[in-house]
Assembly symmetry: C2
């Protein structure tokens, strides 16, 4: 039996869900594909065209009379998206596929607090809109932040590196300037979502791992972000590394993965070995220049990360692990270590179909994920049908 049966798309929002694949279709094709009466298809399309979300035209003249084809209009609205890190933000205006129409990378300090940082985002979006698409309506705002966020309220919850942000009502601040839905999430979750939506849409169960100044992950379960009870899911950095020993971590425990395998931990080891390394970029540069000590240190970090990911593989049984973040730019050395530990510690069944790859969405994964989070929400049938009713 086939468990993947889907209901006929009975509402305008569900019909749009079909058209969001970007293919143009005639009314007859839509009726065949959905099982709906042609009169119903006509009504649904009228509602979507009235909202500007679907365009139609006479472009298919094949012998008989021309048949109108209808297509999703991804430029009907824009999304304001930002991926905010500790020291930089990537800020974009995107279309309704999450594709950036204009994008900038700005320096900031997250410790300046929410008023300063969100003010900078708002000013940048205003400027971007003034020069690009000033008349296109805004569908919503999506923001990624470098700490745990209660997604249902958009408030950061005890973020360790974000002084002044705990419990701050981010959506309320943004809504004062833009009266549209505002969605906020942890940036690693949004990197996972960006990779999933843009590069691996068919993977129902995947893990995205960011290896940089911190170590974190985002989980996709049954095709959806798994955020956990308070938005703290995917916190790899403070799991006990099996060979973590007594290395003290900034969290107060010892032997945490972040204390032995993060960029700063690797840089500290290289510095102790007499190499000139103080940050992530130094580590990557040394590996790329062929330093055997740096290569070995990154590979060992990969092994340590792999030991913890082996547990993640046993628990979560993903089909794909994507490794990203600044240290992933060191390339195969990190991945080789990760693979070595995972294959050694996992049962054969769980790794039978497992792929372990480096990030494909790259530096834009977070901002694309922020935009995709907004698009998923505002174009979901439940929200869109309410708007069109």
């Amino acid at each position: 039996m086939n468990l993947r049966q889907n209901a006929a798309p009975t509402s305008p929002g569900e019909l749009l869900g079909l058209l969001r694949d970007g293919q143009a279709r005639t009314r007859a094709e839509l009726a065949t594909e959905t099982g709906l009466a042609r009169s119903t298809v006509r009504l649904r399309l009228d509602a979507l065209m009235h909202a500007g979300l679907v365009s139609g035209g006479n472009d298919a003249v094949t012998g008989g009379r021309p048949a109108s084809r209808f297509v999703f209009n991804a430029r009907a609205r824009v999304v304001l998206a930002a991926d905010v890190g500790a020291t930089h933000a990537t800020i974009a205006v995107t279309d309704l596929t999450g594709e950036p129409l204009t994008m900038e990378r700005l320096a900031l300090d997250i410790a300046d607090g929410p008023d300063a940082v969100l003010g900078l985002l708002i000013d940048t979006w205003r400027r971007m809109r003034a020069s690009h698409l000033p008349t296109v309506p805004i569908a919503g705002v999506g923001i990624g932040l470098p700490g745990p966020v209660a997604h249902s309220t958009g408030k950061p919850t005890h973020p360790p590196i974000m002084p002044g942000w705990n419990g701050y009502d981010v959506p309320a601040r943004i809504a004062a300037d833009f009266a549209v839905p505002v969605l906020v999430d942890n940036e690693v979750n949004l990197m996972a979502l960006g990779e999933h939506v843009r590069c691996f849409p068919d993977e129902a169960h995947m893990v995205f791992v960011k290896v940089a100044t911190g170590i974190g992950s985002g989980l996709i379960s049954n095709g959806q972000l798994h955020r956990g009870d308070v938005g703290a899911a995917g916190d790899l950095g403070h799991i006990l590394a099996p060979h973590g020993g007594d290395v003290r971590c900034r969290c107060g425990n010892s032997g945490c993965l972040e204390a032995v395998a993060s960029g700063p931990a690797i840089a500290a080891k290289l510095h102790a070995a007499g190499l000139d390394a103080t940050n992530n970029a130094d580590v990557v540069a040394l590996v790329q220049a062929g330093s055997p000590i740096a290569g070995q240190a990154v590979r060992q970090a990969g092994r340590d990360i792999g030991e913890v990911l082996a547990t993640c593989v046993s628990l979560f049984n993903p089909s794909l692990i994507v490794v990203g973040g600044a240290i992933a730019e060191a390339g195969e050395m990190l991945l080789a270590g990760v693979r070595e530990s995972i294959y050694r510690r996992s049962l054969p069944l769980a790794t039978e179909r497992l792929r372990i790859v480096t990030s494909r969405a790259g530096a834009n994964a977070g901002v694309v994920g922020a935009a995709s989070m907004v698009v998923q929400h505002v174009l979901s049938p439940s929200v869109l049908d309410r708007e069109l009713a």
Copy 2:
């Protein structure tokens, strides 16, 4: 903003979803609750009553004319459910809430292979139906098995303790006798589902841990079972226990959680200490009789399990961990050890709202889960609307 908006239930299946809470409602109440026109509510109810899934009657006489009230008829069809372990099966006929109408526990040997074991299930269901509700149609069949199962096909995949079952087409065998949907899953997944549906329906993210001859878990993510890519998710037993040392495991690795904290591992420790313990029941009996050595051994097993669950808490951020299985009957000693490790190794945010409790659904969790899996499928709007169309 409220992200929990739901669409109006536009189909008969969606209307039934509302009535499945067991509350009786008038047409007017259903129209108010759904926003549908009363004429639409009438049409939807007619379809559901025609299928026997909703009953209506004149029981609400309050001053004016009587108003018919409508209620979900959970006895409209039955589900054939079985929770099959290595040496026993719990076999039931349930109603459409998953509640057993009749139930038996039988001895069997899973190693007798699929023909013998499934034959026993089929004979038992036939006998149960002959004496209970022989004329009520069967909605579907749900089976839990003690190994990994590819849920989409219902075939076991390399199950370690089930010789002869690898790749066996369980649904095809059952469908030869009962021409209804047949769904199969790992028994620990179904115990998790049974606990979730019956005792903790509001917990979106929960972990059920079974501690018995083996150690396994079932995960609920966003209110749904997380089965993983090949149905292998939740495999706690072969994760490296942080203090597992060099203890050899039957899987070929050493230091696995199952090798240090399962029922047989505890019994072996007690036996080596001169106590008369060879199986799970002996361990529980010794703890309940007040043996300090047995109590300490179970508490240490709880600590070892808690170390691995701490990783699960960091990754998955559940709001609830439910501990079940034969060794959980030893009571608070096991739970105390589990709590000790989890609270020591986890970040405060992830344990802020975390509850750790013993199983409430008890020995019937698996068979209730098997029935619930079938009910979720056959009463889902996508499947039901197709049937009613």
